[in-house]
Amino acid sequence: MQISRCRICLVLLVVSVMLFLPSVAWAEEPAAAGNATALDTVWTLIAAFLVFIMQAGFAMVETGFTQAKNAANIVMKNLIDFCSGSIIYWLVGFAIMFGVDAGGFIGTTGWGTTGTFEHLGLEIPLYAFLIFQTVFCATAATIVSGAMAERTKFVAYLVYSIFISAVIYPVVGHWAWGGGWLSQRGFIDFAGSTVVHSVGGWTALVGAAMVGPRRSKFGPDGSVRAIPGHSITLGALGVFLLWFGWFGFNPGSTLSGTTPDIARIAVTTNLAAAAGAFGGLILPWLRFGKPDVSLTLNGTLGGLVGITAGTAAVSPLGAVIIGFLSACVTALGVEFMDKVLKVDDPVGAVSVHGFSGAFGTIMVGLFAVEGGLFYGGGVSLLITQLIGVVAVFAWTVLTAAILFAIIKVTVGLRVSEEEESEGLDIYEHGIQAYGDFVLRGTQVH
């Protein structure tokens, strides 16, 4: 009886344990894991939203740094490249970037973002991953509009934006982030100094070179003429919006809100941007005698682009150094483009995204706390970084050249001389961006 009492006790106990444990072990354990996944999802989505607002930042920087007569055309291009990118990336680009790998070069499954992406081992929903990757793709695409501003046909730009989102960017993305050969080699580009920014920057370089300079940019003797932008205020607003968005770009690239890394990434991002502003402030100040507002703004962006590769790998001090030097690269790059390459890039997109992106990616080989040369990691990472930078440069320049060449012979790349002189807004869109203001007309300097 005692035993039987004992039995009853046992049964009761087992039952009681059963009653609690299910809600603990089978429901509760998943509850915590589920919460972690939910938090990762929320983090990734919010980061994606922040990256989205970078589109507004790009639009404001690019329009602010160019002339009033082309303002509507530029914001239109910025809007449309995001829209075509969103749709094309969902249909094609995502599959190329994250489909099942073929030869380390390209993804081959999941067209229309359907089918299984189990090989990615995602915790967060596929759609959260998709939207985050979409806004990244659109960032690469929109970089180009600034470099080709004030002379490129709208329809040509529309065609371009489809192809960069469908092929040029996704292939590079596959190499580095989609399980391709670069990721297998240990290439570190945490949030895309090279994968996103250099791809945009090099495409911008090719595009700007192939469309040719604005007619008033270079004198007959090759002298460089300044064509100041129409709103420094909007340009500065754009830089603030971009910086804001970068807090999604870099910390969000963990795809996880449950890792404490996000805090350090936010700090390195912020310090690099701040140091970048000083790079863009001080270097031109020393060289030309005055603090140049537009180069300080560019330098800030250069610092952000430069830290993007190593944001999770370097120390705060490393971030300051990388940010500062990247901005110097940007500022020198602007002069290099104008005075040496003679390629007209109205907003400095090639310098900010191309040069500083490549530079920042290489710097990871020096400053990575784990594996960087300065931290005793030897040169192997550095070499890997160089390989990555060169490979992406080669791929991008090649494909972009083909793309723009085809556009040139089909729909045409450049507007007419009259259109350029009187403004793309009125010719391409039948509108004046600032209809109530008296403008200085179309100046040729």
Partner: protein, 112 residues
Amino acid sequence: MKKIEAIIRPARLEAVKEALGKYGINGMTVTHVTGCGLQKGKTEVYRGSQYTIDLLPKVKVEIVVLDKDVDEAINLILREARTGSIGDGKIFIYNIENAIRIRTGEMGEAAI
């Protein structure tokens, strides 16, 4: 009737307007213009490239006055617009054949 056209520094507009008003000349038309002359423009550097801002902001004040008021108006403008530095501007005098007040259709001296 004469038109006095004064190209002056923007910063002197208020003083000129006030002085003329005190004298009894209230009618004028003002245009924001730019100009160059002896005053050197500024050579600045934008993104590493030099450029010259040689058209400097000026204000053009047009006053149509009766012949008898021309001298005094000029004197007032000279007094108020002068800073003594290069770039103070010019006054040009034109003949006017007729003036008409749109509201009333009055012509000539009555219109001013």
